[in-house]
């Protein structure tokens, strides 16, 4: 167990090597041959070299067993073709089942041109026909003829690799099992002595690895291919049953056979040693970037958007992809619900032209129904496509569909593997998840919420006879993020986020928000009008007051004038009286004081 773990952790640097590109396989091959444990013959098959620690044992026979249609012949053929093309190791394919032309036809669809390789003296396909009805046996014999044929074929091109497919057919053609077994033992010994890396295929037997017990003779490396159907979904798996002298992966690994040939995917959890990035990338929605600390997501993290149906998860994903493509980054979009054409059309309605990116080969869509393959197969396909396309951004829409392809525990494991894988590659993953209405909203069907880094949550708010979309950031590791609920609008110009109305009426969205806003606007206008009215009133009052003040002043002035006039009259009268008195006094000759005189003078001046 501990050994297995150590092995897994060793893979991480190797994985980088394969993920680079087919052209660098040589480099990884070199690396493995540098391994002092056992010389290896790299298979050139993606993933298989990783789990075998560099390939099949060099100079020794390897047994590949599996049931009919498991891919034995193909694996063997690819071992030869890759050897011939990439490692300059010519090979001999001894076919006991199919003729050379049939074989050439079968593998042409994978891009292997056997005839051309034969012309270049890199490959010999030798068809061995055994017709039981033609053959009678009398007495002793051996299989020297086979040895000579094989030997001649090997020597003709200096072959380093040999495939015997399927040597068990000898058991059908020849009766004497004793001789046959002895000869097979001798054959494998002879192959070892020749120093060729041999691959022997064999049919899976009842309760045993092979029908005729070939594993007895080939004991260096045994690989079992399995083609299993669970719930009507088939998955191909590969397991290294034994591999002498090498630490190897012991798990069952899913593998793919497609137009690119055979690929095995070491899809164990890769652990948590990935390099983290400080770089931030835009979510494609400026307002959302603002909510995420102003800069968007961290590169290489996992973003989950969950929400009920029709809340705009796919639109948000498309925005993210669009933004990535705008930056010139490659994006991969795995859609389990919509076809690429449908997605492109639908996104056009919110002003996103994704087609331009697919044309520039910045964006690739991969649409398939989730139940179409098994989970492992999905994972394998995603691995494969990611390794080929080398995207910076991967969208999986939606992850919940994958449950349909397996049970939820398997889906959970698979997603963790997938997230680890993407993180390891520094790829930003954007996952969407559909939450059904009846369930607790803040959970995902596959329980991966704890391993995502940023979780956006979208929900419907039902109010005032309508449903409106709202978005909030449930969590976002390592950044200050907004705790606000935002109204999520799908406009012809894309996604827009608006503040929701939060007030005494509660949280309002959509028309309610608009009507509330209108109400508030009206109220404000009224307040303003009233203020203006009051102001006018005051002004009028002030004017009235001023008029009154003026009137009073006028009145007062009149009074003052009157008073002055009365005074003058009084003075005049007094003067007159005084004069009269003085005159009287003079006439009487009375002695009068000066003071009186003076005052009389003053009044007179006036």
């Amino acid at each position: 167990m501990t050994c297995g773990y150590a092995q897994q952790s060793q893979w991480s640097p190797r994985l980088k090597a394969i993920t680079m590109k087919a052209g660098t396989i040589k480099a990884s091959g070199k690396k493995s041959t540098a391994n002092p444990s056992l010389p290896k013959a790299p298979t050139g098959i993606q993933g298989l070299d990783e789990i075998t620690g560099g390939g099949f044992p060099r100079g020794r026979p390897t047994l590949i067993c599996g049931s009919a249609g498991a891919g034995k012949t193909l694996l063997a053929m690819e071992f030869l073709v890759c050897g011939a093309i990439e490692y300059d190791e010519p090979g001999v394919f001894m076919a006991f089942e199919e003729t050379a032309s049939e074989l050439a036809q079968n593998v042409r669809s994978l891009g292997f041109d056997l005839d051309e390789l034969a012309r270049q003296k890199k490959l010999v396909v030798d068809y061995v026909r055994i017709e039981r009805s033609e053959i009678d046996e009398t007495g002793d014999y051996d299989l020297e003829g086979l040895f000579i044929r094989l030997g001649a074929a090997i020597d003709s091109i200096g072959a380093k690799r040999v495939v015997l497919d399927t040597i068990e057919n000898l058991f059908a053609g020849l009766q004497n099992q004793g001789i046959l077994r002895a000869e097979l033992r001798r054959l494998f010994r002879w192959l070892k002595d020749k120093g060729v890396s041999a691959v022997i295929t064999a049919e899976r037997g009842e309760g045993a690895l092979t029908r005729h017990g070939l594993e007895e003779y080939v004991s260096d490396c045994v690989i079992l291919l399995d083609h299993r159907v669970v719930d009507q979904v088939s998955t191909r798996r590969l397991r290294i049953v034994k591999y002498r002298g090498t630490a190897h992966g012991t798990n069952e690994y899913p593998f793919l056979i497609d137009e690119g040939g055979f690929s095995v995917l070491p899809v164990t959890s890769l652990g948590l040693q990935h390099v983290v990035s400080e770089e931030r990338i835009s979510s494609g929605v400026p307002r959302l970037d603002t909510m995420l600390g102003g800069e968007g997501y961290y590169r290489g993290t996992t973003v989950l958007v969950s929400g009920t149906a029709g809340t705009g998860k796919t639109s948000l994903a498309s925005h993210f992809v669009d933004a990535a493509c705008r930056r010139g980054e490659r994006s991969l979009y795995f859609s389990f619900e919509e076809s690429p054409g449908q997605l492109i059309r639908n996104m056009r309605s919110i002003g996103l032209n994704l087609e331009q990116w697919t044309k520039k080969n910045l964006l690739q869509f991969h649409s398939s129904r989730a139940m179409f393959y098994g989970l492992e197969m999905h994972l394998a396909i995603i691995h494969k496509v990611v390794n080929e396309f080398r995207p910076e951004v991967v969208v999986i829409d939606p992850i919940g569909s994958l449950i349909q392809a397996g049970n939820s525990r398997d889906a959970h494991t698979m997603l963790i593997r997938l997230i680890d894988f993407l993180k390891q590659q520094g790829i930003t993953a954007f996952l969407t998840n559909l939450t059904s209405g009846g369930e607790a909203l803040e959970r995902t069907d596959v329980e991966i919420s704890s391993i995502v880094d940023t979780w956006l949550f979208m929900r419907d708010i039902e109010l005032g006879g309508e449903r409106n979309r709202a978005l909030y950031v449930l969590k976002s590791r390592g950044m200050a993020h907004s705790n606000q609920l935002r109204e999520f609008l799908l406009t012809p110009d894309g996604v827009d986020l608006l503040d929701v109305y939060v007030g005494p009426e509660g949280v309002l969205t959509g028309s309610s928000r608009m009507s509330q806003e209108a109400r508030e606007k009206a109220a404000a206008m009224e307040r303003q009008q009233q203020a203006e009215l009051r102001e006018r009133d005051r002004k009028r009052k002030r004017e009235a007051l001023e008029v009154r003040i003026e009137a009073l002043r006028k009145e007062f002035e009149i009074e003052e004038e009157e008073a002055a006039r009365v005074e003058v009259l009084e003075v005049t009268r007094e003067k007159t009286v005084n004069e009269n008195r003085q005159a009287m006094a003079r006439s009487r000759g009375a002695d009068v004081g000066n003071g009186v005189k003076a005052s009389r003078k003053a009044s007179r001046v006036r």
Binding site: E134, T138, G139, Y141, G145, I148, G173, L174
Partner: protein, 119 residues
């Protein structure tokens, strides 16, 4: 011709046809014996073959011995795996007998010089 008319009345096995028509038709038998070097088994096979032919096909046979050690490329032509292998090229159909022909009875059956069921 008489025999053919008779045959129509009574169905015969292929072996019987070969047995009755083959050797008696005066046709020359082309036999090829594949060996790999002068091993005791090869020598024994050749000796056994010679004996059978002398007994049953006197003067009507050719034996070609192919040594695959010397001509390995010839192994593919007749699909030779086991050594020694005797190939009856003519008369048709092609027959192969592997082994050192030690068991004369079986060899005769194999060469269709004798019906499978002993009469």
């Amino acid at each position: 011709m008489k025999k053919l008319a008779k045959a129509k009345q009574q169905p015969r096995s292929l072996q019987q046809i070969a047995h009755e028509d083959g050797p008696k038709s005066g046709e020359v038998w082309e036999l090829r014996l594949y060996i790999a070097g002068q091993t005791p088994r090869s020598v024994a096979a050749f000796a056994n073959l010679k004996k059978i032919c002398e007994e049953h096909l006197q003067g009507r046979y050719n034996i070609e011995v192919v040594d695959l050690v010397k001509h390995p490329q010839l192994a593919a032509g007749d699909q030779i795996l086991a050594i020694p292998t005797l190939v009856r090229k003519l008369p048709q159909p092609l027959r192969k007998i592997v082994g050192d022909l030690r068991d004369t009875e079986r060899a005769l059956v194999g060469l269709q010089l004798r019906p499978a069921s002993s009469e």
